[in-house]
């Protein structure tokens, strides 16, 4: 993926650029808002990672608002220390697609940008989601594996659906909280883990090939083992 | 030449005299007589107190107090008129 990173902190920029390049992406970095806006408007990128507080008179919000008003629909992820909910809302309302607060886990960043980049393709309405021999029917809300019906609670269904829509991608715990439960809150203990393990028991137990994997320090992924 | 000078002096005076306020002339002895004559025309039918009033008026006029005389005569005439 062609990624533009607009970040004025040199350390963070170095860290992010290196990590993303190692993950196979091409990263362009600028350190101020004006240059960022110019580059984003003149060259095609698959994704923009923007800090919000930038020098040069043009901040992250301005960049997104300008791009959106020009009809530029490139996905934008805000990477910023401004973490209050109001700020998140501001960022998303301005046209951003996701919002990650510093300090962040690199795995989280990676998982989120890959989810963003893949999104358009997944917008195609599907009635069935399939991973290996696991099949989820969205119309009848049923889960079957190798033809055998698996009983799941509604929330577990949504969890599974989300994992399958992002099959092969890392889905972090925070992402699950936001997308499956539609809340922004911080559970004191890892309740998400408990839900995933319950789901895993239903989906993987008794079958020889486990589909739901834990990705260390990152989150979860559903995938047919190669 | 003297003529012209005199005119120049007296012309403004004359003009001034012309601009002096018009005078009300209803306070003269002649007017007294006029009013007296009016009353006489109707005296016969007039009540006694009015005739007395008129007589007083004429008396005052004769004594030279034309103002008061005229006033009384007018009063008598007015009362008489109202009575009609």
């Amino acid at each position: 993926m062609q990624i533009l990173l607009v970040e004025d902190d040199a350390e963070v920029a170095r860290f992010v650029k290196k990590g993303l390049q190692e993950a196979g992406h091409i990263v362009e970095h600028v350190a101020n808002g004006r240059d960022g806006l110019f580059m984003a408007a003149s060259e095609p990128f698959d994704l923009l990672i923007l800090d919000r507080m930038l020098p040069g008179g043009v901040d992250g919000l301005r960049i997104v608002k300008t791009l959106r008003s020009q009809g530029n629909k490139t996905p934008v992820l805000f990477l910023t220390a401004l973490g209050a909910v109001d700020e998140r809302v501001k960022g998303l309302k301005a046209g951003g697609d996701d919002y990650l607060v510093k300090p962040f886990a690199f795995a989280e960043l990676l998982a989120r940008i890959e989810a963003l980049a893949r999104r358009p393709a997944m917008e195609v309405p599907a009635t069935k989601l399939t991973v290996a021999d696991l099949e989820v029917d969205l119309l009848s809300r049923t889960v079957t594996r190798r033809g055998k019906r698996i009983e799941v609670q509604p929330r577990e269904f949504r969890l599974l659906e989300h994992l399958m829509r992002h099959a092969g991608q890392v889905v972090t715990r925070t992402m699950l909280l936001e997308k499956v439960w539609d809340y922004h809150f911080d559970p004191q203990t890892n309740v998400i883990d408990v839900h995933v393990s319950r789901l895993r028991q239903k989906v993987d137990r008794g079958f020889d090939v486990p589909l739901i994997h834990t990705v260390r320090n990152a989150g979860y992924m559903i995938r047919a083992d190669a | 030449m003297a003529w012209a000078l005199a005119l120049l002096v007296f012309l403004p005076a004359a003009a001034f005299a012309q601009q002096a306020a018009p005078r009300l002339i209803s306070g003269s002895p002649e007017y007294c007589a006029e009013l007296s004559g009016r009353f006489s025309a109707m005296e016969i039918d007039a009540p006694a107190h009015l005739r007395a009033l008129a007589r007083e008026g004429r008396q005052l006029c004769a004594e030279g107090q034309t103002r008061s005389g005229i006033a009384k005569l007018r009063r008598a005439l007015k009362e008489a008129q109202r009575a009609e």
Binding site: A84, V101, P103, V194 | P22, R23, L24, I25, R74
Partner: protein, 471 residues
């Protein structure tokens, strides 16, 4: 050269005085008062002198009509007769008539010549006439009759003029008195305003200078100024609270966050000093990353509490169904309870609408459930319920079977980072209840902690979270 500077200050002071609200109010009062007086005077004038003027004009008009009829009926002779009749009964001697021919000769009437002011045909004019050598004012009307004859009808306006003069003098004096009253009244008004405001202004000044304990003294009148003072005092109390909160946060940060930061540092330093193989070094680094994440979450939680306490989230209030939030919370923590073999019993009405911050309310319920699951032993029961205790209120109750909170600890439970002794060993930052309290306050409610079974060895904690359902 002190003098010029002083002058400048003096002018500035004058300027400030003129711009002051007290002065403006007082000036407004004075202007209104004087305007009222002038209105009164005008009405009076219109009613008296004005009436007399109108009466004179009406009388002249009536006469004019009568004499014009006479002219039409019998020409100059008839008019002469008519004039004579009128004069004969003119007791007041106020009427003025003059009939002249083309040459300007007097045919009838009681004026000796035509007045200059009444030259224009049809004109109404004012001029002076002489009566017994005295000049008196007159109102005159020039009535043209034909090419040669013209008629003058008028009235003696002495009475009217006398009344006008009398009235003008009286009104002028009254106006002077009114001005004096207006100025005095304005000064009194300004004084009264300044007096009432003095207390509030003095308090504000003292506070600005740094004495935050001052409050506006209130009088017994309970008027608008007292309401202002009350509002100011309420505001100052709130600022007090917030400042205490801020101090509390910085205290907590200073004291309790240093520990995990120190721990993380120690761990890294230790790894540096000791000769370790790559594998164990990696393990140490991973643990440190987790530590730093933990610190980050504590910061986040602190910020959320501060946000809630500052009431900043009120702007984001929206209507939502509390029953849905409870269901979701029960679902999330139900799985956790199941893990520990615990039962989660739930009970609430089908729909519980309210206005507030959905995320914050969920966070509060989540914190309470988290505690309940954590402190109840395996196999125990947790109860989550909600009801409407009174109109406009919503109540959420979480009961567990843990050690509960000692009465003396309950008061401190809302303090940030406070951990009652039994819980020090368990994971958690001690911010949970602090946030619940803040959320309660934000929603106009409160948090009450009590025992489920008072007197028992493990009485269990009952947390009652009351919220106002309206914004």
């Amino acid at each position: 050269m002190a003098a010029p500077a002083e002058n400048k200050d003096g002018w500035r002071d004058v300027g400030a005085y003129l711009k002051s609200a007290g002065f403006r109010f007082a000036a407004l009062f004075a202007v209104l008062f004087l305007a009222a007086i002038m209105g009164f005077a005008l009405m009076l004038w219109w009613g008296t002198a004005g009436t007399l003027s109108r009466q004179i004009d009406d009388a002249i008009r009536a006469d004019t009509i009568g004499l014009q009829e006479a002219w039409r009926g019998g020409g100059a002779v008839a008019v002469k007769e008519a004039i004579g009749e009128r004069l004969a009964v003119d007791i007041d001697d106020h009427a003025i008539y003059l009939l002249t021919d083309g040459a300007g000769n007097r045919l009838a009437g009681n004026l000796d010549r035509w007045p200059g002011a009444a030259e224009a045909p049809g004109s109404w004019s004012a001029d002076t006439v002489r009566r017994d050598g005295i000049e008196v004012p007159a109102r005159l009307h020039h009535v043209p009759l034909d090419q040669r004859h013209r008629l003058l009808v008028g009235r003696d306006a002495t009475d009217r003029e006398r009344l006008r003069t009398l009235l003008s003098e009286a009104l002028l004096w009254s106006f002077a008195v009114a001005v004096a009253f207006a100025l005095a009244g304005a000064a009194a008004l300004r004084r009264a305003l300044a007096d009432r405001l003095r207390a509030a202004v003095a308090t504000a000044g003292a506070i600005a200078a740094g004495d935050l304990t001052r409050r506006v003294p209130l009088s017994t009148q309970r008027d608008e100024f007292d309401q202002l003072g009350e509002s100011m005092n309420a505001m100052l109390d709130r600022i007090d609270q917030l400042m205490i909160g801020i101090k509390g946060v910085s205290d907590s940060i200073a004291h309790d966050l240093r520990t995990p930061i120190a721990r993380a540092r120690m761990r890294l330093e230790n790894a540096l000093l000791t000769d370790r193989d790559t594998e164990s070094l990696r393990a140490e680094m991973e643990t440190t990353v987790a530590d730093l994440d933990g610190i980050s979450r504590v910061f986040q939680a602190l910020l959320r509490i501060a946000e809630a306490e500052a009431g900043a989230r009120r702007a984001a209030f929206a209507p939502f169904d509390l029953a849905t939030v409870l269901t979701d919370a029960a679902e999330v923590y139900g799985a956790l309870a199941e893990e520990r073999g615990q039962q989660l019993e739930t009970s609430w009405p089908e729909k519980l609408t309210m206005v507030g911050d959905r995320d914050m309310v969920l966070q509060a319920i989540a914190n309470l459930l988290d505690n309940a699951v954590k402190f109840t032993s395996e196999g125990g029961t947790i109860r989550l319920s909600a009801n409407v205790p009174a109109r406009g209120k919503r109540q959420i109750i979480v009961c567990d079977e843990g050690p509960g909170l000692a009465a003396e600890d309950r008061a401190r439970a809302g303090e940030r980072f406070f951990r009652a002794d039994p819980s020090r060993a368990l994971p958690g930052s001690g911010l949970g209840l602090s946030l619940v309290k803040a959320v309660a306050a934000l929603h106009g409610g409160e948090l009450r902690l009590g025992d489920v079974q008072p007197g028992a060895a493990r009485p269990g904690l009952e947390a009652r979270l009351t919220l106002s359902s309206r914004a």
